[in-house]
Each structure stands twice: as C-alpha cells, then as structure tokens.
C-alpha cells in the first residue's frame, strides 16, 4: 500500500535511469520481417522477435488464401442478395489468421463484425459464421463450444468481456488467454480504455489486437487520435504494447504468438497494433470514393500480405507451384460449398422471436407468442 506521505514525496530518480515505462513502450518502427515485396526487411526491424516456424507459416499461407477466397465469395453473395451486408477484411489476412493461429483451442476469441475471416480460420462452419450477416439470426455458432464470442457490433464493448472471461479463467487456475480484436475507430470508445485499465489492474491474460486499417467507415485515423501510435494507448494503463506491420504475416504471427504466450505465462495483458489497410469499402453498401483516393488503395494493394508471404516462402523453397495451386483449389472448393449452401433464401421461424429472451419465458412472452401464432394461423 502506498501511504499518503509516499504520494506527496516522490522517490528521487536519477536522470540517467531508464524511464520506468520503457518495457511498456512499442518499438519506434512497426515490427517487420519482410519488406514490401516479401524480401528481408533491412536491419533489425524485427526487434527481439524470432521468425515463426516454416510449418506455422505454411499453415498461415493456406489459411490466408482460403480466407481471402471466402471473403470474396461473401462480398459476391451480397450482390446476389444472399447476405444482408458484408464488411470485408481483404488485405487484413495477416491479422485475422495470425490471431487465430496464435491461439489454442481452449483460448477465447472476441471478434468484431469485420472478423468473419477469423471465424473461418478458427474452423467455425461458414454458414454458422455468416448467420449474422445473412440476417437469419444474430449469432449462428455456439460461443461456448467454439470459445468464440458473438461478433460484436457496438464498438469495443466486447473488450471488457474478454477481460472478464480471461480473469475468470485465471481465477480458476486455468491458463486460458482471451484475444479481442478492435478497429482503429474502436480505440476511441470508452470501453476500449476501461478494458485496458481493468486488464492491467487485474493482471488478466488478454491480448488486445488493434486492426488499424486506417479508417472508421469514412473517418481517417488522424481524426481518431493525436497519439504517436495506437499502441501508445496501452502504456498509460501499464499494458505492454507493440506495433507491427499488419501486412507482414511473419511479424504478425511472431508478435501475436509471443503476446499470447506471455499473457498465458502470467505476464499480464498485451496490446498489439497492426498497421494494415482496408482495401475494400467499409461494407458492400459503402461508397469509398467520397473520402479516399484510388491511388492510396492501389499503393496498399502492392503491400499485399499473401503476396509477401508467398514471395518469402518461395525464396526459401518452402512453397512450390503445386502448393500454391493446392491452396487456391482448396479456396475454390470452400467458396463453392459456401455458395451452394447459401443458395437458398434465408428464412426464420417466427416462434424463435420469443425463444431465449429469458431462460423461462415470462407470462407476457407466452401470451404474445400465442397472439402471433393465432395471427399466423388465420
């Protein structure tokens, strides 16, 4: 306990001593292993991190190729009226797949509406994963069975839940970690800050992944923050923070794996900011020409995470033409199954309206369910 006197009399500090927050601060430049073309990044840009194993990178490659094909299929399904809306994560594959590969099956993922690709990466059935965006129910998968929270739309409000789940696990002596994904816009919401603070105070094993894709719908990052980086937001709460080239799959896997394992080992929460870019409009319904230049999008497309990983693996003879073809074929097969399974119009049972509002329906809900049934029987 700090006494009143200690509060008034700060301990003398030597000017030469390292600032006490040095271990919390992100690196000066985003962590990266690869340059924009997939060649080795110059110098020690990867900091203290080690290159992920080839085996892990190969899994990541396959999952990213499949994820991107799925994402394109989902966007196509909006045009055919099979999905109500789809927020694409094209270009953000390194974060989506990096997050799920860093987790164990027993760990929890707290995704947003943009992270359907991460659900696919976690092995959740695509029709269940698309239930929300198809409009047939709010959440189509079982969060308890999949250890994946419902996709969250009220920005950053799922972050405190991740803290609660992680803290609960820790209280029981389990080594479960929770990873929550938040957008750059979401970092301005109060719940993001409350969650960081609670995670730090309760030393909860949570990894906060900020997918900084440059925009919150139309609003650029410059309107979101005046901080040196979004990673710096962790420091004020005592949360160790890192910034990463979010389009470098090696860097994302290396940093996220380290963050998850550090949290698991009792190191407390970690904040990881991924510098990435939303190459598609906010959703299929958005017109991004109103707020950004085509050139900007094209420049980011040249830093494509899948192309960079492919170039890297090929340069080391760790990926062959056959491997690439196989990954693409798997993506095609997956997409065509999704297309087939969503070929029918979404339907819903009106009786479901009244199910699960409470564990047991109230007399009023029973009554109203009866009135609707009568109305439908006429």
């Amino acid at each position: 306990m700090t006494t009143q006197a200690e509060h008034r009399m700060p301990a003398a500090t030597s000017a030469a001593a390292a600032p006490a927050d040095a271990h919390l601060l992100p690196s000066a430049e985003p962590i990266r292993f690869l340059d924009d073309d997939g060649g080795p990044a110059p110098g020690d840009a990867h900091g203290r991190y080690e290159r992920p194993s080839t085996e892990l990178l190969r899994r990541a490659y396959d999952a990213m190729v499949l994820g991107r094909r799925f994402d394109a299929q989902a966007t196509a399904l909006t045009k055919q009226g099979r999905l109500a809306v789809y927020p694409s994560s094209r270009g953000q594959e390194a974060g989506e797949i990096g997050a799920v590969l860093a987790l164990r099956e027993t760990d929890w993922l707290f995704p947003t509406y943009r992270d359907t690709m991460a659900l696919i990466g976690r092995g959740i059935d695509p029709v269940e994963a698309l239930t929300l965006l198809r409009g047939s129910w709010h959440c189509g998968y079982d969060p308890m069975a999949t250890r994946t929270a419902p996709q969250c739309t009220p920005l950053a409000t799922h972050a405190p839940h991740a803290v609660g789940v992680a803290y609960a696990a820790r209280r029981r002596g389990e080594d479960t970690v929770a990873l929550v994904i938040v957008g750059d816009g979401g970092t301005s919401e109060g719940d993001f800050h409350e969650a960081l603070n609670f995670a730090a105070v309760f030393h909860a094993p949570v990894v906060f992944l900020v997918q900084n894709n440059g925009y919150a719908i139309s609003v650029p990052l410059s309107r979101q923050t005046a901080a040196p980086s979004l990673a710096h937001k962790g420091v004020g709460y005592g949360v160790r923070s890192e910034r990463v080239d979010g389009n470098d799959p090696l860097a994302m896997l290396a940093v996220l794996t380290e963050a998850v394992e550090s949290a698991r080992a009792g190191g407390g929460p970690v904040l990881v900011e991924a510098h990435t870019y939303r190459v598609e409009p906010h959703t299929n319904a958005d017109d991004d020409s109103r707020y950004r230049d085509h050139d900007e999008v094209e420049a980011w497309k040249r830093r494509d995470p899948i192309a960079r990983l492919e170039a890297h693996l090929r340069s080391r003879d760790e990926l062959t033409d056959d491997d690439v073809a196989a990954a693409r074929e798997a993506g095609e097969a997956f997409a065509s199954r999704v297309r087939e399974r969503l070929s029918e119009e979404a339907t819903g049972d009106p009786a479901d309206l009244f199910a699960h509002v409470y564990a047991e329906p109230t007399p009023q809900l029973r009554e109203q369910a009866g009135w609707l049934a009568e109305e439908l029987a006429r």
Binding site: M144, A168, N197, F198, T362
Partner: protein, 335 residues
C-alpha cells in the same frame, strides 16, 4: 429479530457467498469500506479480496467484466454506487447483458445481478436520487426487481443471485433503514408475484419501491374516512404479475398507481395501460396515477413537493368518480 432492509441485503449476499463460491461481489468501495450504504459490510473480511473486491471507477468496465465472468463460470453481483452513476454502464446493460441469451439462441446465459441503489427522499444532492427503473424494465431480457420489505430484500436478492438470467436489483435508498421483525433466512413469494399487502374493497393502490409504505399509510388513513383501499406491492417489475393486479382491480373496480418516478413513459404508465386493457369492464373510473412530476429530480429543499405523499394519494383516490362525476382535471378545455 429486528432487521433493517440494508442488513437483510447484506445477509443475503453473505449467505449466497457461503453457499456458492462462484458468487462474487465487486464494484466501487464495496471492499474495505463495505459500500457507501454498507450493504457489502464485512464481506471482504469474511470471504477475502478474491470474492469481494473494489474495481477501478468505471461502471461500463464493471458491468462488462461481469459479463465476461458470467460467461465463464462465475455469478457476479456488481454494485452501481448510485442510480445516476449506472448510466455509463447502460450500453453494456442494453446491448449485452439483456441480449446475450437471445442472440446466442440460449447458448450463453448471464447469471449476474446488477445492484442499483435508487430513488430519492434522502436529501441527496443532484445525480443521487434518480428513479431509473423504466430504462431497465423497458429492455427485454432483463429482470427488474425492487423489494419494499425487509423479508423481500433478503429473499428476492437470494433469488436474483440464483436466477439464470441477469437481474437489475433496484434498492430504494430510503428503505435501507426501514426495520421489520424478521427471522433470516426467509423465503417469500417468487419472482413475478405481486403481493396484496393490505386487503380492501373500494379501490386498489398499485405500488412498488418507496411508494409501498406511502400507499400503506394512505390506506390506513383512508380507513378512518370510510374508504377501504387494497394495496398491491409489485416486488418484481419484470416479470410483471398481471394476474394479481388485475384480480384486485376487478374486485375493487378502481385503481390508482403510485410510483416515485416521473410519470411520462414510465412503469406507472405501463401499469395503467395494462389495467385498463384487462379490467375495462370492471372499472368505475379511469385508472389514475400519482407519480413524481416530469422534471429532473429536484434539490433536497424541494423534494417534498415532488415525491408522491399520502395526501396526494388520498386526493387522487377522491377523484375516482365516486359519485359518477367526471374528473374535472381531465375534462376537455379544463386547462
């Protein structure tokens, strides 16, 4: 044994925590201090800082963390320090606490209790006396409970903690010091059951929270004037007990709803609507209401003009068209 309502709540928390070690209590100043109203007094000492603990000052974070802990095996009870200071948590309550079971098709239930000291009459300065129950009662997926007796305080809180659904447990601050002869533990009527606190035959007073003692006092006073008033204490606003309320009004033929909250778009408005829907052919007069005015909660010196008191209740009972005379207050052109 003479017990205060606040002590009964304290005993309910203690007994629940003794019986089930997944029950946790957290919030602002609930640890060493025992809460600003001392409802958590002694819990940190008995159960340790792991079971009853202080959090950072952030209501959304408190409720949000409780959601996560309820998802993962615990039964959190959280305290909002005052009614108006629960508003930062409203997004968590409306968007997650209330909806989680429904949006996950029953896969994720949230057995958690949000305790909210509410309502006025204690001379509190601004932001310390709001009647915020309508916000919660209007939100499907929440149960909303407000005890008016010492025995109910104990029993309903135990039931709230054991309930598989999230419960907003509204504690009328003014009643914390109310005393009664009670032996704890005690089990009273279940959630969703209103109770006739006083039988009568001429008119029904429907009340909850701080309005219950007011209604009872009014009924006692009316008796000397020859009016027999029945008093119904709702106890739980959600689920609502239509049956008990309607049975009483069908019997008496007249109804006044008494509640401290502002009347516009309120729980009292809902009750009046439900009573006239169900009892129209038994009614001898329109359903009337005695509520707080539609104003921000007033400063302490003006509280007495705002709160529904016995006189205002009795005046309203007199307007129940006893001689078939229309209520002059609501005649067209009366204003």
């Amino acid at each position: 044994m003479t017990v205060t309502l606040g002590k009964a709540l304290n005993a309910a928390l203690r007994d629940a925590m003794r019986e089930d070690d997944t029950v946790l209590m957290f919030g602002e100043d609930v640890g060493a201090l025992g809460g600003v109203f001392r409802v958590t007094d002694g819990l940190a000492a008995e159960f340790g800082e792991d079971r009853c603990f202080d959090t950072p000052l952030a209501e959304s974070g408190i409720v949000g963390m409780a959601v996560g802990m309820a998802m993962n095996g615990f039964r959190p009870v959280v305290e909002m320090q005052f009614d108006a200071f629960a508003y930062p948590a409203f997004e968590q309550i409306a968007s997650h606490v209330a909806k989680m079971r429904n949006r996950t098709r029953g896969a994720v239930g949230l057995p958690m209790v949000i305790r909210v000291p509410y309502a006025g009459g204690i001379g509190g300065v601004e932001h310390h006396s709001d009647s915020s129950e309508a916000y919660y009662a209007h939100t499907p997926g929440l149960k909303v409970v407000t005890p008016a007796t010492v025995a109910d305080a104990y029993s309903l809180l135990r039931e709230a903690i054991a309930d598989p659904d999230p419960v907003v447990f509204m504690e009328a601050k003014k009643l914390y010091w109310a005393k009664d002869e009670t032996t704890l533990p005690v089990t009273t009527e279940r959630f969703g059951t209103a109770v006739v606190r006083r039988a009568g035959s001429d008119a029904t007073l429907v009340a909850y929270g701080t309005a219950v003692p007011v209604a009872l006092e009014a009924a006692a006073s009316a008796e000397s004037d020859g009016r027999s008033l029945e008093v119904v204490d709702l106890r739980t606003l959600v689920p609502f007990d239509d049956e008990t309320v309607a049975a009483s009004v069908r019997k008496t033929g007249r109804c006044v709803v008494v509640a401290e909250a502002a009347g516009f778009a309120s729980v009292s408005a809902e009750i009046a609507a439900r009573v006239q829907e169900r009892c129209f052919h038994s009614l001898w007069a329109p359903v009337l209401r005695v509520t707080g005015w539609d104003v921000p909660y007033p400063p302490p010196v003006l509280e007495k003009y705002h709160l529904p008191g016995v006189d205002r209740v009795l005046d309203t009972v007199e307007r129940l068209q006893w001689d078939d005379v229309p209520d002059p207050r609501f005649l067209a052109g009366s204003r």
